[in-house]
Symmetry: C5
Subunit: 365 residues, 5 copies
């Protein structure tokens, strides 16, 4: 598990639709976001015996390789160059609606069959949790085209397996490569669940032992992270299920493996649900803990006030200035031989009485 | 995205049924609301090569154009003129129940097949969020009739596309125009989700950093907005799904595009759900934050009271007027050489003891 | 909408099963509640051209009219006369289980086919919200028998339509009359939703502006009303759906209208759900508002106590009676030339310091 | 309704599985609980014309009657005698798994077809709410065997009907007897819902009028009762539905009646759901009421403290002992002609100012 | 029930995915956890008449027994020896994906058919609640292979039954053994529900009688336990349902028994749901109880402060040092004959008035 890309709980971002066209725009209108990363293209073509891997600059280079290999994998990182994407789209005869989905980020995971290819959208975790990145995959008869939102992906170990030769991936057809990519994407949520699980565990300790003001922020943050992860991962289940039934693109041998990926997606959703439930319980527990602490603070205040305010009153009484010379009724205590000890005893008695009352209510425990 | 109609979170309005007839009224009874805006009618008729666009005053003008164009689009803004609507209804042979739904606003999105046309109801966002406006659409073999609740709509860019010629919409049949209208309606919820998303984000910052009394009002308002948006958008999913199966009115080429609109409706519901969950969490977080602040206020009160009330009591004791001349037991401290420093030290000691107790409970952090 | 029967939110009543027989009683045992209103019977028989409407005393009068008209509608108000009901039951050959449901009030809306008639139960709102009243409807080949829980119903406008002649209801068969009755029943929930919607709106204003002790009672009451309305209305959806499929009793022409009623039932449930969600949010908002107010009260207490308790302590110190004659250490301040101004300044300084601390915590906003 | 067995909300008991065998025990192992009540056996055999009813001691007596009557009903009260049950099991050829379910109490309601009989489990309310008692019913071709957890049941009125003769039950086959028993069981939940409904109503009044510490206990108790009742009643729906489809044991005539029982089960679940929702609302309302009361207590404290602490401070100032002989700056007020009235006026002014501030905040309402 | 393995509520552990491979790893890659317990192997082979039971060291010993007995059961405890598992996998021709699931712990219960065997995953409770242990079961035509996560299981009584001979298990085929194992696993959750039920019951008493700070921790803990148990048990339902339909491996005779196990799984989920609902109610009740206690504390504080602060103020007034020699307006009371009694009476009057006000508000109850 050592080579895993490091994730961290990033800054909260607003939950908004991804890019969308102005309502009413003609379908298939491609409006490119000039601020998006400019595409870099990589081509890996392989048969059981041979392998070509290179960076390409001009989409026309792709045409040269297509048809010459059992599997040609073109990976495009970034969608900032509209002209380039349009030319790639032409080479693979991509439908306008599919291309619209490629550039209008924020799509849910889905599988859509077109005449010459399967169009698959998946969402890949990024280093900034819980943000995910859209990966558009076109699976044709002898090629796989992947278009990523931005550079950086979870496919490095798939590339390694291709380079190594002799592994199953080399002797297989494009559907197996698609399986390998989807499997890498789905499995890359496991380390994230490890992180959220650990974080929840730490928060549970914090809530139970020493909740403070920042605890609620952290619970809120992890809950949001889990909501957004669920939104990102959830549709993969349905998409994988659809994929399993696309028998014209997915061979039976590959379906066995995809079923395993489907199984992993179920397990991830299962864990997300459980973590979300625990986080809900945590919020309730936190609220109870805060109430408990307030109770305690109030008890201390009440104990101190209940004892000392009456005592202060007694002291106040004997601090009055009634003229005891005028009458025997005016504060004769002041002139008693044991006046002061009497007052102190009175106070001690009152304090003892209140302490006993408080103790009987069980407030000292 | 610059040309988007500006939305703002309008005044809360009661959630009530829209207009309805007195229970027991005969079906198809049309009771017109004289306060509703008076209708303005616009006709756009086009073929691949030609285009007519004009405002019409007399419904009979419509008859003249029907049948002469592949697509005639009549748009009626406002439902305040009963006579006019009745005449339009006659021209298109609209069923009484359908016409009843047109004028009794507050219908849910739905699709109902009649003999000569499909009757579609959709709900379009208005400038006053979260109020939505009912759009009734009749899709016939060569016409589209749209009746809006009031002037102002999201169809301007569709009109632009028709005017421009050469776009797909011009060479297509009425079902494509209906798709274009529904797509414009559904997509017009995206900018609203942008607004609610931003607002939620701002509220999250407010709750976590500086919640105040107005925060809860704002959370309540956004939650209500989301509930009402969900009620407005939700039925579109089912309606679009029904529409996809109405093969006699929707051609296969158009269905591909409608599926895309359906996909957008799903994404909008998905986002609404997520935003609603976040807003729920926000309410819980706010409540915790308020409790936390109260805790803090209580702590300050308790610390101050716990320290100064006992000190005040000690000062009170030495303010008593027992006559120390009468006996050596009566407040001899008053005559001690270091009586005052002794009293001050006693106070300092008591304060220190209480401070230490409080510090040990961790109330200063 | 002027003629609507006025509803008011009545006294809460316990949610209990309606009348039921002692468990183990033989099915079809009719135990009549002698406290129930005594039945009044009304007969309306009509064809397209003719109409008879009269109050009847003896059930045998019904027999005379049956078979002589396309539609005979017998309406019984009140179920307090067992003998009468038994005789009516005999005339229409009502199954014992159906008759049991007629007299054991509190049934859910449902549709049950028997050999010679459809047995329909619906629930009609009463003037005492959220109480509803059971209406049992028997739809035969040429008659409609309705038995109501007590006098007063929402059918007056249906009767008006029958009396007027020339309306569709006159030229139709009994299933259309049943539709008209069910439509009147379902639609009569719309004005109630208007009332609850307005009430919720008023409560929202109250919660946000000036929540007081009675607000929570009102929220509780409206929530209960909504729960009970949902329980009353909900089963109508399923019942109407079942009715739509009872092709032997419901003609296709009538089914179109019933679908409209079904649509209304869906809209009502939709609104009830939305109102209930808003009322839940309202409860949470109210709780936050109460917490906020407590926070404010606490802040005032804490500010006052934090400033004046220390000042009181200082005054107490200089009210001590240490004998300054005995030693120069004993309260020399009392004899300072500026002792009093010094003490006042000290107090002012302490107050300023505390005010500054409080201001820095932002408690004045 | 006078003869109903009286129910009372009994002591809460832990929610645990019923009896179960040590995990891994061979299926069909019968471990009898020696503490369970020892069985009493009763036999009722009847045809339309004749009837035998007697207590039996030896299971062999059953064999003599089987086959001689259209319906033989053997009722066993208590499961404490293993040997006896084993012999009864042999007579009716009861499958080991079914017998295991009979003695391992805590089964959910269910229907299981075996070769020679239907095995039905139902749960009957006991006098100690919300505890329920398991009733195992075997429906054979000419017998009904019921085995109850302990003496006391809701079948007395069924027995009465059998004894009376001439009622439908006498002329029917065993499936009708099973219907009568199940109907008696299901209907016996109605009086309980009456009790819980009344109790909830009383609690609503208490919460709204005068909530105290014990109220929350009572709400908790009724909620638990409802949860457990739902768990007991819920599975009957599915069981009855299954039973309706067991055409080889249930004749069409009986199915009509069973559908009625199914209807009752639905109504009971409906009521339980509604009561549970009301109880949830009640808890929220109670919490708000408690918060409101605390608010009120705090207001009184704050008003008193806000007025009297500053006054006490002023009195304290003029109780200081600065020597006015030393300088004209030292408390000249003490020697003013109207010093005391001035001080009192100052206090009155301060009190008035604070009262005005408090009044302006609206704390007196 | 005496021989049950003792469970205890263990330390909370983070909820995380079980072991998983680095995302992108080739499927079927077996990475063994060297820290896992080293495997111990046990072989039990039996026919109706004969039995062999022994510990084996070398997997090749298995080959010798396979095919010679109707049922060979190999049980492997611990998965720490990769080489050994690989060799076992070869003997039984285990698919790589299945073997991957065996070693990557944390799988959900499931049933997967392969060509030569059924692959079943179940989760068995461990002594450390709510941790569960993965049991992988391979059901072949004449063998059962079970691989457990670590030593210690719930199968001892199954082994006993096999050893005893003459029981059904001895004369049956491997599917019956699998049933016996699954039954033992599922039933082993019953004692746990006994424990959680008792614990909940104890907590209910604690919450209602004497809630303290630790109560909320305990409620949180039991809720977490129930969430995790539900996650562990839930998938068994679906798995058992799938198993019932795998007719090529499960004979009809065994299916009857498996249906019983399925029934138990349903009952367990039912109980878990109910216990979870009770625990939710408990949390709400606890929060109310805490609020109630705070209310009480506040009342005591308010009563004491409301009575003694005004009294202290009066004492303070008569402790002022206005010079009564200067004017008759300056504190003449000090020189009244009954000045002191007057002051005391004034205080008593004020105290009585406040007490009366408080009593009227009902704060003493």
């Amino acid at each position: 598990m050592s080579k895993l890309r490091r994730h961290r709980l990033g800054k909260r971002a607003p939950v908004r639709p991804g890019r969308y066209l102005e309502p009413g725009t003609a379908p298939g209108t491609l409006v490119f976001d000039p601020a998006a990363p400019h595409p870099a293209m990589q081509l890996i073509a392989y048969s059981a015996d041979d392998l070509v891997e290179r960076t390409i600059e001009d989409p026309e280079e792709i045409r040269a390789e297509l048809g010459r290999w059992p599997v040609v994998w073109i990976n495009v990182d970034g969608i900032g160059n509209g002209e380039l994407l349009r030319r790639i789209g032409e080479i693979f005869r991509v439908h306008l609606l599919a291309m619209e989905d490629v550039v209008n980020l924020g799509q849910r995971a889905k599988v859509e069959p077109y005449d010459e290819y399967l169009f698959i959208v998946a969402r890949m975790p990024t280093a900034d949790l819980p943000q995910t990145e859209q990966v558009s995959i076109f699976l044709g008869s002898a090629y796989v085209l992947t278009i990523q939102e931005r550079p950086g992906d979870v496919f490095e170990s798939v590339r390694e397996r291709i380079r190594k030769g002799r592994l199953r991936v080399r002797s297989s057809s494009p559907d197996y490569l698609v399986y390998a990519l989807l499997d890498a994407i789905v499995d890359s949520f496991f380390p994230i669940l490890d992180i959220t699980g650990e974080e929840l565990h730490r928060l549970e300790d914090e809530v139970l032992d020493a909740p403070d003001k920042s605890t609620v922020h952290q619970i809120h943050r992890i809950r949001r992270t889990l909501v957004e992860l669920r939104r990102a991962v959830g549709p993969h289940r349905e998409a994988l299920n659809t994929l399993l039934r696309e028998a014209s693109y997915i061979r039976a041998e590959t379906a066995v493996f995809l079923r395993d990926t489907y199984d992993h997606a179920i397990r991830i959703m299962d864990l997300l649900e459980t973590q979300r439930e625990i986080s809900s319980d945590l919020m309730a527990t936190y609220l109870s803990a805060v109430s408990n602490r307030m109770n305690e603070v109030m008890k201390v205040l009440t104990i101190v006030a209940t004892i000392f305010i009456p005592l202060g009153f007694i002291a106040g009484v004997y601090g009055m200035n009634f003229n005891s010379d005028v009458s025997p009724w005016n504060m004769p205590e002041l002139n008693w031989f044991l006046g002061y000890p009497f007052a102190l005893s009175l106070m001690a008695g009152v304090a003892a009485a209140f302490l006993w009352l408080i103790w009987r209510r069980g407030w000292f425990t």
